[in-house]
Symmetry: C2
Subunit: 181 residues, 2 copies
DNA sequence: GCAGGGGGAGAACGTACGTTCTCCGTGGTG
DNA sequence: CACCACGGAGAACGTACGTTCTCCCCCTGC
């Protein structure tokens, strides 16, 4: 009873995230979703609008998954370190290929304002979440910016190196910064 | 008296870095370099080989510029912090658009082994350089991995946010980690 | 002056893609 | 049964691109 929109977005996410935006044609999404081109264009008026819907849904899901995971740990330092444990788990998923927003921004960047805006707002929201965790731990607000860099760096480095280890290095650095602050 | 190869690589770097790999056609490189398609294909047998030459040259130049800058500071902690000062300068260049290797890897990633390998070896070399700086400062080797994450995160965050500030946050975090270690 | 070869401009070719259109079958409604 | 609105399959259309080819000019060596 899944809706057509959901089936299309599932296929789009698998393909766009796995192979890049420009490398995936609408026909590949039709084949992967089983939704005819005609119907597909009734639901998403263009490839651009499908790309933006993909990024929007991924942003919500990614942050919800992170928050669900972190909130199982006690607020404070524990919960901050949980972010890096979650990254470590994510990096080990077989289809992990880095940050969808960084990849999309790097591919289209300028010249595609919708994608650039999606990347900016995703990163802003992530920083905002870290800031609430930092406040909850009673640490200096500047720490949030530093944690963002560690997480961001870990995601990119894990993608390129193909190893989940950067999450552990980032976790250790975060621990040291928390202890120093 | 500039060689044809250099003119082509200059144009390729400007266009590939500024707009992405797939968004730039060979004809745009011909127009920007003033080298005819025929000559262009005599020097680079395919677009793929031009892309790889672009990444190779950029890797060398980028690391050489960083090392030239850092070596003006005294070895030790000063020289490690200089890395982040150099990033801060880079982020303010008007055509800064993040890391060419991260962008290329995100765009093509799997399915293009030459690009993936170029990204891996660039990041390895950068980590290697930081490791020598860390050793020169007498700090624990694990610090190199943490500094990589800060630098990597700063590059990506600066690109998406459009602000050079992440370099300062990364510098401050590096200072704290150095003091703690 | 002249033959020949290298190079430039751009056409040509094959392919891929975003988007739309045509044609047909089907299932619900009187 | 007759009608029709919808949806599927895939052809069609316009464009863009990687790569090669054609044609012509100019420069060199004799």
């Amino acid at each position: 009873m899944e809706t057509v929109e959901a089936r299309v977005l599932d296929a789009a996410e698998r393909l766009f995230y796995g192979r890049g935006l420009q490398a995936v044609g609408m026909d590949a999404i039709r084949a992967a979703s089983g939704v005819s081109l005609k119907r597909l264009y009734q639901v998403f008026s263009s490839k651009d609008s499908l790309v933006e819907a993909y990024l929007r849904r991924r942003d919500h899901r990614w942050r919800a998954a992170l928050e669900r995971f972190a909130e199982q740990r006690p607020a404070g330092r524990e919960r901050i370190l949980a972010v890096f444990d979650w990254l470590h788990q994510w990096f080990q998923e077989p289809d992990f290929r880095g940050c969808a927003f960084v990849n999309s921004y790097g591919e289209l960047g300028a010249g595609h304002p919708g994608v650039a805006e999606a990347a900016r707002s995703h990163k802003d929201a992530f920083r905002g979440y870290l800031a609430t965790l930092v406040a909850g731990a009673g640490a200096a607000e500047a720490l949030a910016d530093q944690l963002v860099l560690l997480a961001e760096g870990a995601i990119t480095t894990a993608a390129i190196s193909g190893s989940p280890e950067p999450a552990l290095h980032a976790r250790e650095a975060a621990r040291a910064l928390l202890a120093a602050g």
